[in-house]
Amino acid sequence: MGQLGHIPGNIMFDGPMATKGYPLNKMCYSFNNANGREAFLANEDEYCENFGLSAEQKLAVKKRDVIAMLEAGGSIYYLAKFAGILGLNVQDVGGLQTGMTTEEFKAFLVQQGER
């Protein structure tokens, strides 16, 4: 993938991805501010529209599909701010991406120290 080769299950956030993901990441950057978080929750469609998200990005946001957001150019550092609005932590997000429950994901993390 891209100029950097491919690692299975990994999406390199490089320049072209930063170009593609710019509107989505910019919207998530606005979630640093409480006003932005409230405005998103009050009218999600309008908020996405105002930041010029692509159709792919809007759909991924609407479906809360983390992998699709990453593939649409989302950076995990900014998606984390979106996850915060939804009350999710990084283990919840890890579970969503790997098809595990949060508890299974946490157990997976622990297992890696036992190898």
Binding site: A18, K26, N32, A80, G94, F105, F108
Partner: protein, 289 residues
């Protein structure tokens, strides 16, 4: 001349800050992790550094993608923390040190590192969590801090070898500063972790332990890696090793490893803590600590 007393490498995971806010240090999940810190705090207490130079990465608080410096240094008298979007409590401002900042900037430019200089700069958990870990209860107001941000969020990012050389140039700059200031250098973040993609949750303990071994006396072995290697071996956020390499680059001469701890998982991460003292550290009795 200013002296570098040593280097400290530590994790900067936001969950650590939340755990400290909530007084969870002695709960089963956190106890082993936090129990590793008192010896390093004690060393700092005895060494009485005047200035902390902290390598960290900004996670989308100060820098968005509209302007994303590869290397940036603060030259402000004060650095504010702010809301990062997901609930970590804001902490009191961090004290800056403008004169040494400008000296470092001048020296870096002389030595081919054309750095971005920030006279205002919000600092995020990458910097504030290590400070809170070293001086609990937000008692870090006395120490002057120079924040140095390295891009670890968007490829292309500076190579491990370049980050090591960058740290070397900064170490040389500090040592060429007139005065008798005592400086401690921090490398924050790491070690292996991956937050994004189907590979989320990847941690590589053997690789982390290898890095902690090599960084003491053979850091050049780590500068052979590319950032792609680091992503492959240590996960997409494992590139934060670059900040440990910058810290290590700033140290010179014989080092004594006074403390080491590794714990996983903390949040999604292999969390390492390491204290490397230089010969300029003040000896207390037969031990440096």
């Amino acid at each position: 001349m200013a002296k570098i007393l040593g280097g400290i490498a530590t994790s900067h995971i936001p969950a650590i800050g939340v755990a400290m806010d909530q007084g969870l240090e002695q709960t089963p999940y956190w106890k082993d992790f936090f129990d590793a810190y008192p010896p390093v705090r004690e060393w700092l207490y005895k060494q009485e550094p005047d200035i902390a130079v902290i390598f960290y990465n900004d996670h989308g608080l100060e820098f968005f993608h509209d302007r994303k410096p590869t290397f940036a240094i603060g030259a402000a008298a004060l650095y504010e923390n702010a809301d990062e979007g997901w609930g970590i409590a804001e902490i009191p401002p961090v004290t800056g040190e403008t004169e040494l900042s400008w000296h470092i900037v001048n020296q870096l430019i002389e030595h081919e590192f054309d750095i971005t200089v920030c006279q205002e700069m919000k600092v995020d958990h990458g910097l504030t969590v290590p400070l809170t870990l070293m001086w609990p209860g937000h008692k870090y107001g006395h120490i002057k801090v120079i924040p140095i941000a390295i891009n670890c969020e968007r490829h292309p990012m500076p190579k491990p070898s370049r980050c090591f050389d960058f740290g070397k140039a900064i170490g040389d700059a500090i040592r060429s500063y007139s005065g008798n200031q005592k400086v401690v250098v921090f490398g924050t973040g790491g070690l292996s972790h991956q937050l994004d993609g189907q590979r989320a949750g990847f941690i590589n303990k053997p690789f982390d332990l290898y890095c902690m071994d090599k960084i003491v006396n053979e850091p050049e072995a780590l500068t052979k890696f590319t950032n792609f290697d680091l992503v492959e071996q240590a996960g997409s956020q494992g590139v934060e090793l670059n900040m440990w390499l910058a810290m290590r680059g700033a140290l010179q001469g014989a080092l004594t490893e006074l403390h080491r701890s590794y714990h996983l998982p903390i949040s999604n991460t292999g969390a390492g803590l390491q204290l490397l003292a230089t010969t300029d550290a003040i000896s207390k009795g037969s031990m440096l600590i």
